[in-house]
Point group: C2
């Protein structure tokens, strides 16, 4: 069965300020020393499994140029521009309706655009297995990540018995736990991290959208019907902006039957904050990650992402420095989530050019 | 007796990199929120005691423009440009020989250009007392600072009995002590900090220069004789560059007789490193000193000297950030002395534009 991929690239990635901005969010940045952006890596690692012509990018209309610039080999009609941000369920419905015009039925893999994968062969094999299960069993397959520690920043998947083909039934999805609960999950051996990667047939997901979000289904069908016609943009704007905001987790996964998960252990990293930079790059003998024009004296466990100017890091420990032309962030590693507070203050001050 | 002042302004102030550069050292920077530079403050606070026409600035020839720009009211002939850096003894000999051409004899106060004084009335009264003692007793008077804690970064003055006029005999000058020694000094009540401020008559200092540094005396006399003639610059360059490098402490004060000290308690601060900025400026409720375009989130005891760009300080404690157009320093408060290592690395790399 034909395998297609939908890469969701509408996020704003505020935790990577000041490098990420509204005008260029995380998925369009390079956070690794090879210079490739997150979305370029996402597409590249799929190519052993999915034809370039079957890779779709769903993104905010404002980012279409970034996508075409960074991914010139993706056919233009595969770049699906959302006229408004409506979370993942409308995004997936839109993509499913469009792809359904091209293929009678096909496997549709839904993947984030801003994660990293260390072991790409295992990743591809896991996706293949998921596609097989999705095709054979008409199930909604989610890729669960084998947890390594009691992370409180992710949702978890509670899985049950093993089906055929190495998939496990999903008992329930649970929200981000507190630390004690996360520790229990980890100890139980019955939980996986929810990575936000889904694999299903077009027919399966469309059927589920129709069942659980009939309003969105109706709009998506109209968008799909208009695809390729002169009215497409008009219909898209009208129908899509009318969608309510809904996540696929809440709108479908927590309600649907026949959900299974395939555990993956392929060096997944969600690159969730500036803390990730030292994980995903090579650090020096003092555990510093340093890029750009930097002089480091007596510093350790420190991340410096330089810009055009010299940065001198003297006597620092567990500090993150990110320099850009118009803003520099100096942040304790314990406070990477507080970067959002900076953005909130900038918004309050009406300084949108810096957001 | 006429009172003159010689302000020594040849230093390079490397500890204030990246704001201080070879091209604009500390004495020409403003480190306080009023915008006045250190040398402007130094001159201004002297005016209740010394006529502007009797204030002399000795500086490196390269800084003459900075002096005339920042101190337009100082007569140009009072700006004495050293053709080379030769430490304080040749600097003082040069100034004494020049001023000796104008006045038969006069009190000469030698003062650093880059210190701050909190209590200026007491400062002026202390200098007045020192001038009286120097005039009456033909002694070399040094201003000692009443120590507040066992500082290991200053030299100390061991004083003896009180003379008339509130001056104390100097037993000896001692180098920067280790902490245990500094603690002993402080506990003994017989030590003052050596502030590098000296008061003496021209006749007294010239006599002492002749006794202890006859070579420098000879050259200084020639420079003084040439002052105001067309040959001055030629003579100055020849004689001054031939001087050996010598400090007044080692060259004269540690050898001379009839030295006394007057203790001063006038809120002296040598502004010795970036640590000083929070001492000499008002801090906020979280003990931060912040200037420029800065957003601070969950930071405390942190100093941010902003430049043209936004600085976001997130979750920091005891960190110093200094931004300039071409370099930014992020430094732990424990490592302010290591800023010199940054400069050393820049020199090694031949990046003199940043030094």
């Amino acid at each position: 069965m034909k395998i297609t991929a939908v890469i969701m690239a509408g996020g704003r990635g505020e935790r990577f300020w000041p490098k990420s901005r509204n005008s260029c969010p995380k998925q369009f940045l390079s956070l690794t020393s090879d210079g490739e952006t997150m979305i370029q890596k996402t597409v590249k690692r799929l190519l052993p499994l999915v034809d370039m012509n079957d890779i779709y990018i769903v993104t905010n209309a404002a980012y279409k140029t970034l996508v075409t610039d960074q991914l010139p080999d993706i056919p233009e009609e595969n770049i699906l521009s959302e006229p408004a941000a409506r979370n993942t369920a409308p995004c997936i419905a839109f993509a499913a309706a469009v792809i359904n015009r091209k293929y009678d039925d096909a496997v549709m893999m839904v993947l984030p655009s801003d994660h990293l994968i260390g072991l790409e062969d295992i990743y591809i094999n896991t996706l293949k297995k998921a596609a097989d299960v999705a095709a054979k069993n008409s199930s909604l397959v989610t890729i669960g990540i084998t947890p390594e520690y009691p992370e409180t920043g992710y949702g978890y998947i509670n899985f049950g018995a093993e089906n055929e083909n190495g998939a496990y039934t999903v008992e329930r999805f649970v929200e981000k736990p507190d630390l004690a609960t996360a520790e229990k999950y980890l100890a139980s051996g019955k939980y996986l991290w929810n990575s936000g990667m889904f694999v299903w047939k077009l027919s399966t997901i469309l059927e589920n959208i129709r069942s659980f979000m009939p309003d969105i289904y109706e709009g998506a069908v109209k968008i799909g019907e208009a695809f390729g016609t002169p009215q497409f943009n008009e219909v898209l704007v009208r129908e899509f902006t009318a969608f309510r905001s809904e996540s696929v987790d809440f709108g479908i996964m927590e309600k649907a039957e026949n959900i299974c998960t395939i555990p993956g252990s392929f060096g997944w990293d969600d690159v969730g904050s500036w803390l990730a930079v030292e994980r995903i790059n090579k650090t020096d003998a003092d555990k510093n990650y340093i890029s750009g024009d930097v002089i480091s004296v007596e510093s350790s466990h420190t991340t410096v992402c330089g810009g055009k100017r010299l940065i001198a890091a003297v006597g620092l420990e567990d500090i993150i420095i990110v320099d850009t032309d118009d803003a520099v962030l100096v942040c304790s590693k314990n406070n990477t989530q507080d970067v959002k507070k900076v953005i909130a203050q900038l918004r309050e001050q009406g300084r949108n050019e810096l957001v």
